[in-house]
Amino acid sequence: MESKDYLKDISEIKDLMNKSSRFISLSGLSGILAGVYALIGAAVAYWLVMNYSQGTLRLDGPIYQLVMLDLFLIALLSAVTGIFLTTRKAKKHGAKIWDATSRRLVFNFLIPLIAGGLYILIILSQGKYGQAGGLMLIFYGLALVNASKYSIGDICYLGYVQIILGLIGAWKPGYGFWLWVLGFGVMHIIYGSWMHFKYDVKNK
C-alpha cells in the first residue's frame, strides 16, 4: 500500500522537473501544416522557375524576388500556425504560454536561426546562391537541436535529419531544391504526425 504512495511521489517529481524546465505544449499538428505549406510553396517556386525563368534562377530577375516572397510567406505562415496551435494546446493543458520555459525555448531556437538567416542573406547578396538550400537546412537543424533541450527531447531527431540533408545539399548543390523539399516538406509532415499521435492523440 505504501509503495503506491512512493510511486506517486516519483511521478510527481518527474512531472515537476519537466514542467519547470521544458516547454512541452508544442503542437504536432503545426509541424504537419508547416510541411504542407513548404510543399505548396516549393511547388509554386518550381512552377515559376520552370515556366518563366527557363529552369534556372537568376539573381537579378523578377522571378527571384517572387521566389524570395514565396519563401518568406512559407516561414511566416508556419510561424503563425505554430504559435496559434501551440497557444491553443497550452490553454487546454492550463499551461502558461509565455513563461520562463517558453521564453528560454524561443530564445535558444532563434539564435542559430537568425544567425543563419542573416548569413544566407549576406551570401545571396554576394551572388553565391548555390549553397542557400543546404545552409537553410543546416541552420534550421542546429536551431532544432538547440531547442530540443528546452522542449520535447524528440525534436533533436528532426534536427539531426535536417543537418544531414543540409550537408548532402552542400556536397551536391544540384539537388539543393529536392533536399529542401524533403527536409522542410516531407520530414515536417512525418515528424509532425509522429508527435501528433505520440503526444496529442494518446493523451486525449
Binding site: 505504501e2 509503495s3 512512493y6 510511486l7 511521489d9 516519483i10 510527481e12 517529481i13 515537476l16 522537473m17 514542467k19 519547470s20 524546465s21 502558461k96 520562463a100
Partner: protein, 96 residues
C-alpha cells in the same frame, strides 16, 4: 531497515519534495515560479522553504529587480546529495 533510514524526513512532504524537484533541474527559481508550479499559498510555501533552508538544502538570495523585492532559491551541494539519496531510497522501496 537500512532502506527506511535513507528516506529523508525533511522531504516527507509534497511541497518540499516539489521545491527540490524544481530546483534540481533549474539553476534557480524565484518565489512566484515555485508558487505557480506547486499551487501553494504564500504562507505555506514560505514555511516549507524555511524548513529546507534550515536543513541547509537550499540557498536563499534576496535582491531587488527595479523596486520589487525578489527572492530566489537554489540547491546546495548538501541538498542535491540528500535529494539523490532520497530518490534512490524511494526507487528501492518501489522495486522491492
Amino acid at each position: 531497515m537500512s532502506i527506511i533510514t535513507n528516506i529523508n524526513k525533511v522531504f516527507d512532504h509534497r511541497i518540499r519534495l516539489g521545491i527540490m524537484s524544481i530546483l534540481m533541474v533549474n539553476e534557480y527559481a524565484d518565489f512566484n515560479m515555485l508558487k505557480e508550479l506547486l499551487g501553494a499559498t504564500d504562507g505555506n510555501l514560505a514555511s516549507h522553504t524555511k524548513a529546507l533552508e534550515n536543513a541547509e538544502y537550499i540557498m536563499v538570495e534576496k535582491q531587488f529587480i527595479g523596486r520589487k523585492p525578489n527572492t530566489r532559491y537554489s540547491t546546495t551541494k548538501l541538498g542535491r546529495a540528500a535529494f539523490k539519496k532520497h530518490i534512490e531510497a524511494l526507487e528501492k522501496l518501489i522495486n522491492k
